[in-house]
Amino acid sequence: MQAQENHAKPAELSFQRADPSTLVVRVAGDWHLRSGMPSPLLVTRELDKSPKPKKVKFDGNQIEGWDTGLLTFLMGVADICQKRKIELDMSALPKGVGELIKLAETVPEKTGARLERDHSSFIETLGKATISYAQALDEFLTFLGQVTISFAKLAVGKARFRTVDLWVIIQDCGANAFGIVTLISFLVGVILAFMGAVQLQKFGAVIYIADLVGIAMARDMGGIMTAIIMAGRTGAAFAAQLGSMKVTQEIDALTTMGISPLEFLVVPRVTALFLMIPLLCVYADCVGVLGGAFVASTMLHVSFSAYFRETIHAISLTDIFGGIFKCTVYGIIVAVAGCLRGFQCGNSSSAVGDAATTAVVTSIVYIVVACGIFAFLFNTLGI
């Protein structure tokens, strides 16, 4: 297999008929992968010419160097010949070549092992995709049911999980989330105030910015922003944690120990988010109002105290509790979606990444859907 890189001739292929039924394929020159190689199709073309040969003989006496490039070409030709039932003579090739080809052919292809590629029409793909969405909803609801059963067990004191785990997760999705929640809510408050200012200044009703920001934050924005932050932060983390536990068989280890992974892993996570997200929501509401107050007092000449008096006057307890209730529901969605995607994770490291991605996507989709349903309900009920 020595390569004579500098003065080697490129791969050459020529054909000859020793007699009408025997095709001699002469391979010469440098047959290395990096220098490119002729296609086996050239041989097919030659085989199509009449009189059709019954035997193919290789002549490799003038090969100057070779590697996998030559083998790939020969295997291609061998395949063609096998399909056409043409006899193949490889005796005049370099010694190693024959041995390697024999090695590649010793173990027959395992029937049924090769994966079939899907050749379906657009309509079929569309139909399958639709069905899979329906199945995804079904899976989500089934999982939600299982989680509910686990909580029922928790209520009668039969669920098993470690309290330490619960505290760690509470810290992670509560206290550690303060920074990002502060930043985003403050900015949302600022943006709302600016948006309102443009219109309200025209009427000299700048003070009503306090109403606008306060009600928007308390009823919807505080909750939804918190939920989306938690979906990206905590939901993805849940999916990645559980997914990698699946890959390393840690979840199997729990199951075969007689400990339900649902109780051990999902219950503390859902509980932690269920307890923490209302607090984060209240916090986000307050910071959002602060953001509005900041804009109003520094740029629109409304005093801090007037702003707060107006805010307190504008928001009712119903607004606040409605917002907290919605946010709690979003929190449960985030936790359940994160855990579900973690459990569904495949057995590879790229699957863990996919699990985290789909967890965030699922959470956000269901949060927005829930938000729409709440808007309709609250409106109909006059809350």
Binding site: L103, G112, M245, E250, D252, T255, T256
Partner: protein, 272 residues
């Protein structure tokens, strides 16, 4: 290493089986991995599930543990039909087993002592101090004394495996399942693990089910075995591996047990 005078598969057909696998077919969708598996495992056996790579040995183990549902057939523990049982009965049964996974599968967020201690914490009334003591003892049994407060990521692969074994035997299980115990271990560690398996059987009275393709280990510890053949997709041999080596007439079983060295054969050239 002499095999104690335990009954072998052939003599023990009238002995009550601890584990019975009946007409088991394993499939993923339409792809059948193995079909019609029938075998029994007696008490105090060290039962080897052997076969080439990718033939479905670990899959069989996962079926026996209920991690995958069989396409057909059932697994019985004594008279208890595991396949047909409801989840709670299964959980209760699983507590009598210990499992050592291929990679150890230690819970990465817990120290070794906590890993070993978790089953004790969940299923016994021991106080935290006592749990710690028991965990230390189990770790000492597998040669990991002093590593109680290490996290799994801080120790080597071989040590993780031994810690996994310590966890598997935390509750003194009746049956211990081993998924490729010697995979990724050097020959000496692998031999030490074999000795541990024998000790478990001889001193704790446990039964071991071992998935393996390591010939030295198979002959050293196994007293009963089943050979899964990837070509025919079913079991082609059943019995003491040493007797199979001496008497089996099946070509592929012989090739496997002799590493294809018999009659100067090269396994790659004799497939099929």
């Amino acid at each position: 290493m002499s095999t104690p005078s335990k009954p072998t598969a052939s003599e023990s057909s009238n002995q009550k089986a601890l584990i019975t696998v009946r007409d088991l077919t394993m499939a993923f969708g339409n792809f059948v991995v193995m079909h019609d598996l029938n075998f029994k495992i007696n008490e105090h056996d060290i039962f080897i599930i052997m076969g080439g790579s990718g033939c479905g040995k670990s899959t069989l183990l996962r079926h026996m543990l209920g991690l995958i549902e069989p396409a057909k057939g059932e697994v019985l523990y004594g008279d208890f039909n595991f396949t047909k049982a409801d989840p709670e009965q299964r959980e209760a049964k699983l507590r009598q087993f210990g499992v050592l996974y291929q990679s150890g599968a230690l819970w990465s967020s817990m120290t070794l002592a906590e890993n070993v201690g978790l089953p004790l914490e969940e299923f016994t009334d021991l106080k935290p101090g006592e749990i710690r003591e028991v965990a230390s003892l189990k770790l000492a049994l597998v040669g990991l004394k002093g590593f109680e407060d290490y996290y799994p990521s801080q120790i080597s692969g071989g040590m993780q495996k031994r810690a996994g074994l310590a966890r598997a035997i935390a509750l003194d299980p009746e049956i211990v399942f081993f998924d490729e115990p010697s995979a990724g271990l050097d020959p000496i560690s692998s031999r030490l693990l074999d000795d541990l398996i024998l000790e478990l059987r001889d001193n704790l009275g446990a039964t071991a089910v071992v998935v393996s393709h390591e010939l030295p280990s198979i002959f050293a510890i196994g007293n009963n075995s089943v050979f899964l053949d990837a070509e025919t997709r079913t079991m082609t041999a059943y019995g003491d591996p040493k007797e199979l080596l001496a008497h089996s007439t099946d070509h592929r079983v012989r090739t496997f047990l002799t590493r294809g060295e018999e009659e100067g054969q090269n396994p790659a050239r004799n497939h099929g």
